[in-house]
């Protein structure tokens, strides 16, 4: 089995706040292999971005610190590197692009100056050569007239173009891993598709690994090889994209899928997950999902009263299983190559806790979507 490029082992991150310590990342294990795309999925505030930031050691410290675990990149533990060594990893080995292309470029510099900054820093080339490389990388991300564009300021560009610039900046030093923190959330749908297509193309050309942070399951289904679902600072399910979409195991993942509209199916109202993501300062005891979990609620209604316990949420009172409220499930390999954390999956008790490692590539690389076939398929299904 090949070595993973990036391996998170039981990573836990804590922040000191006025109301005590909170843990936005708890016991997260995840592997990314060269050339693979791994998605980190979850609602806002579940710890996706903090996980990404702690890989590059960018979480603001004092308040934040990694309290346990390892971040292994190409065999080195990034957490034990000095700040100087870490700076040579950032940008060169691991690059990052951000959600908001509108604010992630410095308004007072031309985009050329900003791309060149990283190139000079990591490749040790002169200014003229660096501008040449910057021009090439702008051309790679599909920006017309790159030579002139180098002289543009960020405010002269649209959101999609700025995100392309961010990608050009991140990829100018040929990183082995790209962390994309919701790269398309702030863009409109057509631009989203273009940006994702661009990332796929560049990934194929360079055999680069991508860690894609998103809450858009459509993006996940189209683009990634392996999915890790996060809920309340923990990975609750991790599997290949086919596996996860075919047979989701965790009730949270199931609920997520139920809340996506389906093409050609007419429903009055889309399913939602009741309640809200718990605040890390006030996580419930036991399984963090139990106050919102349809599975434990359903099972509790059929179980004898001594195995259930009543819980009170903001708008209702209902029974849940005692075990779900009392004990937090660990992320176990409940099936080969499928990890999940839920007491109520058959075979959970006998399953073992292992590190999630999935060296998997999706079989079909989706081609550019043709709107015409989509529409006819939808009409077909509607009939």
């Amino acid at each position: 089995m090949p070595e993973p490029l990036l391996e998170l082992r039981n990573l836990s991150v804590a922040f000191d706040t006025d109301r005590g310590q909170i843990q936005p990342v708890r016991d997260v294990s995840l592997s990314i292999f060269p050339g693979q795309t791994v998605a980190l999925v979850g609602e806002s505030g579940c710890g996706k971005s903090v996980t990404a930031m702690s890989i590059l050691r960018l979480i603001p410290s004092p308040p934040g610190k990694v309290i346990a675990g390892e971040v292994r990149f190409s065999g080195r533990d990034l957490l034990s590197l000095s700040e100087r060594e870490m700076r040579s990893v950032r940008g060169k080995d691991i690059a990052m692009i951000f959600q908001e292309p509108m604010t992630s470029l410095n308004p007072v510099y031309t985009i050329g100056d900003q791309i060149v900054e990283a190139i000079i820093l990591h490749q040790g080339v002169g200014s003229a050569k660096a501008y040449k490389i910057a021009e090439d990388s702008l051309r790679d991300v599909g920006i017309a007239d790159p030579h002139r564009r180098l002289q543009s300021y960020p405010h002269e560009m649209s959101g999609g173009m700025r995100q392309r610039v961010m990608i050009a900046m991140a990829l100018s030093c040929q990183p082995k891993l790209l962390i994309a923190d919701e790269p398309t959330t702030a863009l409109d749908v057509t631009i989203q598709a273009q940006i994702l297509e661009l990332l796929r193309k560049l990934q194929r050309e360079r055999n680069m690994a991508i860690m894609l942070i998103t809450h858009d399951l459509g993006v996940v289904a189209e683009n990634v090889d392996v999915v890790a679902v996060m809920y309340a600072s923990r990975i609750v399910e991790c599997a290949t994209v086919e596996d996860l979409f075919d047979k989701p195991q965790h009730p949270y993942t199931e609920a997520l899928f139920r809340s996506i509209p389906k093409l050609g199916v007419t429903v009055d109202r889309l399913d939602t997950i009741r309640g809200t993501v718990p605040n890390p300062a006030r996580f419930p005891l036991g399984c963090k999902f139990h106050p919102r979990c349809p599975r434990t609620r359903q099972l509790a209604e059929q179980s004898p009263a001594d195995q259930t316990v009543q819980i009170v949420t903001s708008d209702e009172t209902f029974p849940v299983l005692k075990r779900c409220k009392g004990e937090e499930p660990l992320t176990k390999e409940i099936q080969p190559q499928h990890w999940a954390a839920c007491h109520q999956i058959s075979g959970y008790d006998s399953a073992k806790v292992t590190l999630a490692q999935l060296n998997h590539r999706r079989e079909v690389t989706p081609t550019v979507i043709d709107p015409a076939t989509q529409i006819s398929a939808a009409q077909e299904a509607g009939k």
């Binding site: 960018l58 700076r87 950032r90 604010t103 992630s104 599909g142 002139r148 300021y153 002269e156």
Partner: protein, 335 residues
Amino acid sequence: MTQATTSMPVFDSTNRAAATTNGLWLDAWRRLKRSRVNLICLIVVGFYLLVGLIGFLPVLETKITNTVGGSFDPPPKMMSIHHNPFKIEWNRKFWSYWNKPALWFGTDIMGHSVFWQIIYGTRLALTVGIVASLISMIIGTVLGTIAGYFGGWIDSLVIWLFSTFNSVPWILLVIAIAAVLQTHDELNRRFSGLPTVIVALSLTSWIGLCRLIRGEVLKLRDRDFVVAARAIGLNHMTILVRHIVPNVAHLIIIDFSLNIVSNVQAEVVLAFLGLGIIERPSWGRMIDDAKLDLLRGVWWQLTVATIAIFVLSLVMNILGDALRDALDPRLRGVG
């Protein structure tokens, strides 16, 4: 380029307004010069600078100590008005003074030329104003940026520092610093008390800028482009110098321009109190000297110095406001 066009649409920038690539400073300059008042103010400031430079000519040192006439010679009169206001008697000799600038503004008690004194005073005022503002700009910028950026105990220390400085009335502080430096300092005597004034003023006028910058940097440091700069591997120093400071440069420039006036005015106040510049005709000393002579009807010394200060203050304040509008359009009409 060719393979990019096949797989995805490429943005066409040729018909966009991309040709107007100016950047912040050119835009600001364009906004500034849109108003005629601003242009006039700029010309006046240029005039002051020119006069200040003339003040640096070595010949001035003798001009201000030479006796050019009798004690309290008034400036040449253009006309005399008698008891009958309709009967104006033109002074035919008025225009013959054109080549005797030393007498234009009259003389002081020693018979020294007020004209040359005011020019020398301009030099002193601008030196104090600009150098003290530069020093306080550096102190304020450095402390403000590191406090805002690093936070934690550095921030606490800087806050403590400027709160402490701020809690003492500035004039007391200036007097204390001036008094301490003035008594025993060779350098001070050589430069006629200028270093005292500059040190005292720069140590008190950095607080406003420091506070302003700290607040702005607090806002900036969590912005994505700062995180992005760290994510490409830049160190803190580079980020501070290249990414943070340029984004607060407008504040620095605005504060600098307004600080010059307040430092010039503070110098006058100090001189009036008998502190600061010694043995040289600064504007403040001229006013201080003239205040008693006013009772004897000697108005010209006081008037000329006051007008010099007034015009400079007015012009610099207008320019400071205009700079703020030009560099930070969001603040237009605020404060």
